[in-house]
Amino acid sequence: MSPSYQDLLAAAREVIPEVEPSEVAPRVAEGAGPLIIDVRETGEWDQGHLPGAVHIPRGFLESRVAGVAHDLDHELLISCASGQRSLLAAVTLRDMGYTNVSNLAGGFARWKQNNHPVEVPRILTPAQRSRYSRHVLIPEVGEEGQLKLLDSKVLLIGAGGLGSPAAYYLAAAGVGTIGLVDDDVVDESNLQRQIIHTTDRVGVNKGESAKEAIRALNPEVQVNVHPFRVNRDNVLDLLSEYDVVVDGADNFPTRYLLADAALMTRTPLVHASILRFEGHASVFMPYDGPCYRCLFPEPPPPDLAPSCGEAGVLGVLCGVMGNVQATEAIKALLGIGDTLAGRLLIYDALGMTFTELKVRRDPDCPSCGPDANLQLRDYEAWCAGVGSHDHEAAGAPA
């Protein structure tokens, strides 16, 4: 005769030890408990679960368990609503070779009745699940990653060539707060590449113009407009409010200021610069990789460093490089993949080549080296002094 459900449960109890909530609760509270796998359905899990538990719905248990329990000797505690589904799930894990599997007696219901602490997961709203569904589907992002993006704050220096695509895509991606620092207004000559602005917003502050575009694209994003230039007096306060800073500045004094301020506030700095058909990009992780000054100890003089306004830039190049920055910002926020930290990416649009150079920490770096005496200085004077090769006098830290 085929075994009934009750027979299966009885047979399972023969081989799977059951643990009362009160036995394991003290260990869970100390963070020293077994790995708890909750096998209920998503709707049940969303209502609350044991602290520190991981969620694998019963139907995915066999395919996903190795992702959370690499070692067959790992101590596992399986839980469900009342302790029955989890009991059968525990048998399956035992059959798969796991040697130390227990079942939570009475399941989540008994745990809750005994007034042990419960974690209620933050979840995406149905509208967010729909909007960000393509992110949620990616294992490296998922619902947890999307929630992290929604909680994240990214500061963009410049809402121009690089800032336009970067801000647009970061807003689309659901980065919860976007700060835009730009004192400039939209000019007709910007529209060949600064796609977040529009013809009817010529004359409007770029931050305000970008805010309008972002509101239309994703009203959930909080946009902070900072309609001034970043300088020595405001940079530390600004950076300390954000998780990542995206450098789309148009001049060296600002770039060196940001590089030093990012170190001082320990803010990851996503760098890109562009000219004509060529783009550079890198990521500077404070004290955990090279900084901008390890890469470029000094700026070139003005005749070797024309701005895009002087030398021109292919409009679409901004899209590629701005989106490299947006990509790196998202990766840095989520802690996934390998960022460009320690590498300089060079994109040559004419040859359609991407070249990577190694960038290493300079042990003598005056900004991040062990003997550095890092202080914000007069970067305008310092850059001008370097350009005229009169380093000693110009731009001493102030």
Partner: protein, 92 residues
């Protein structure tokens, strides 16, 4: 003969080319030959006493020449030398 990659700001000095060839067994010799063939490049990257300006980064293939033997780094026919000054452009 090594290939030398020329950054956008120096291309006018080499007749608009993105890559030029230059002779030499070391980075220094290749640069000397480059500046002989294209004196306008030398005017931009060398100081009055003939040394390289500090803002000039040199890469041999993907490695920073400062971490190799700088201008004494040996180079062969298969190596690419890249001259890399910082670029400022971004917003405007």
């Amino acid at each position: 003969m090594s290939a030398v990659k020329i950054p956008p700001v120096l291309r006018q000095a080499v007749g608009g080319e993105r890559v030029v060839q230059a002779d030499g067994a070391t980075v220094g010799e290749v640069l000397d030959d480059l500046c002989t063939r294209h004196p306008a490049v030398g005017a931009q990257i060398l100081t009055a006493d003939g040394t390289l300006h500090k803002y000039v980064n040199l890469y041999v293939n993907d490695e920073d020449a400062r971490l190799l033997q700088w201008t004494d780094t040996p180079v062969g026919d298969a190596d690419t030398l890249m001259i890399l000054p910082a670029m400022a452009g971004g917003a405007r």
